[in-house]
């Protein structure tokens, strides 16, 4: 045995090595941390956003000291990769303190943001302590569409934020949720992103039911785009990637009768702005209060329970041969139905329409559907 030079290894390879050592070892390698539910925008599709000036919400949030303590405990328990999200993380004036501490403890960080609060100072911080990636939601490339989605005339600020990060050589991914307000602009967004930033653009039709109350009159499901229009959009955007065709070409049957098939309770966890730990950010029903105990106690108290949870009844998902491709999961079911196992019709329909369009069963060649955005 010799010291040897330290070989370079990527994160994925490291995780594979750890799991090869003991595939069932419950190590909280990957997590997500909602630093706040408050946001400077008011997107119609959002499932958590509270006003940035919501004093009650701010008073409930973990302070930087509490987050530092939880960070230390996550690291001690083996945490390595952590997503910071919100709300809008940059509404917190102590973001820098929180972020630097996490980096200095050796966490690999990813940041979700709307990009509108990325000042020169924030960009410098991120350049000094680079995250693995920053993902920015770009909801439109015209003022009207951006405002229709977000409720604010903030497109220019978002674009400036993106440019500040790219100018510093940071890794940025641009994306958007598809809503009824920006559906017709998607090809334009993709083309703008390609032309102005030289980046790809990803999109997500999944709009959750609201998780956090506090914005009266907001009903995200009402801005969902109908499944047939999502698949029409897929057909246009799929030209670039072929990802859906590859995806549906693979075996997509459910692997077993576990409730969670995503690593929840095995390697993943979530912490909300108030210190409540759960198996994922969408399932607030199995929880542990990190203000009352340690991260390790929380992890050990529910990890095994979550991981070994078996289905209690039969739904149509068990006989579905593409169920593993569906975005329905215990989180979606919880938000939509208040249960862990009920199928979510919206996701189910998108999945089956995509399988028809892109899977080996596809019988109909690409035909533009009514309402599909024009080719860019």
């Amino acid at each position: 045995m010799t010291a040897a030079a330290p070989p370079v290894i990527g994160y994925e390879a490291l995780v594979r090595r750890i799991q090869r050592g003991d595939p069932r070892a419950r190590i909280p390698l990957q997590g997500s941390f909602e630093l706040t539910y408050r946001c400077n925008l008011a997107c119609t599709h959002c499932w958590v956003n509270l006003p940035a000036a919501d004093r009650a919400a701010r008073a409930r949030e973990l302070d930087a000291g509490e987050i530092a303590r939880i960070t230390d405990e996550i690291v001690e328990a083996g945490g390595l990769w952590l997503l910071l999200t919100g709300g809008e993380v940059f509404v917190r004036p102590d973001f820098g303190e929180i972020y630097r501490h996490m980096k200095r403890r050796g966490l690999l960080l990813m940041v979700y943001t709307n990009g509108t609060m990325i000042t020169e100072r924030i960009a410098d911080l991120l350049a000094d302590y680079p995250p693995v990636r920053i993902e920015i939601s770009l909801y439109g490339v015209t003022r009207g569409t951006y405002r229709a989605v977000t409720g604010h005339d903030a497109l220019e600020r978002c674009l400036r934020g993106i440019r500040r990060l790219l100018d510093r050589g940071l890794k940025v991914k641009l994306k958007s949720v598809v809503t009824t307000a920006n559906y017709d602009e998607f090809v334009a967004i993709r083309d703008h992103v390609r032309r102005e930033f030289g980046l790809g653009f990803s999109y997500d039709p999944n709009i959750n039911f609201r998780k956090v109350e506090g914005r009266s009159g907001m009903h995200p499901a009402t801005v969902r785009v109908p499944p047939e229009k999502i698949v029409a959009l897929d057909r246009v955007m799929e030209e670039d990637t072929g990802e859906l065709r590859d995806f549906y070409g693979r075996d997509q049957r459910l692997p077993g009768d576990y409730v969670f098939n995503c690593g929840a309770g095995l390697n993943t966890y979530h912490v909300d702005p108030y210190g409540v730990m759960s198996s994922c950010m969408m399932v607030p029903s199995i929880t542990y209060d990190l203000r009352r105990g340690s991260f390790r106690e929380g992890w050990e108290s529910f990890a095994q329970r979550v991981f070994e949870l078996r289905r209690t009844r039969t739904t149509r998902c068990q006989s579905c041969d593409i169920a593993a491709a569906c975005d329905t999961c215990p989180g979606w079911s919880t938000l939509e139905h208040g249960t862990l196992e009920d199928p979510v019709d919206y996701m189910c329909e998108i999945n089956h329409r995509r399988a028809e369009a892109f899977g080996p069963r596809a019988l109909i060649p690409t035909i533009a559907m009514k309402g599909a955005p024009a080719h860019g």
Binding site: M1, T2, A3, A4, G10, I18, I27, G106
Partner: protein, 105 residues
């Protein structure tokens, strides 16, 4: 490989750069760069048992000879092999910026 450790000789001591974080996760021991210009942020450096022990022993005072002796005392290896390996290891750490020679700015 350029051997900064070799150039420095056996009597030079080394200081760990605080912008590299040493972590044990399950049975893996890794070095993670946390600041800009400190290597590829998607890269993680893995250490074996000997490398991890050497990293822990680097304290700004121990020299290459001290580190070699510690490795010989704790692992089944000849002094010659231990010195050669520790030297390569230190050189690589210097290359990636995880170490600097004690007294250097």
């Amino acid at each position: 490989m350029t051997s900064g450790a070799s150039r420095a000789g056996r009597d030079r001591a080394y200081v760990r750069d605080p912008d590299f974080v040493f972590r044990r996760i399950a049975d893996e021991v890794v070095l993670l760069p946390v600041r800009r210009n400190m290597g590829d942020l998607e890269s993680i450096y893995t250490l074996n048992d000997v490398g991890a022990r050497v990293w822990e022993l680097i304290d700004g005072h121990r020299t290459l000879a001290d580190l070699r002796d510690a490795v010989v005392a704790e692992f089944d290896v000849t002094p010659e092999r231990a010195e050669a390996d520790v030297e390569v290891f230190l050189a690589r750490l210097l290359d990636i910026g995880a170490l600097r020679a004690a007294g250097a700015p």
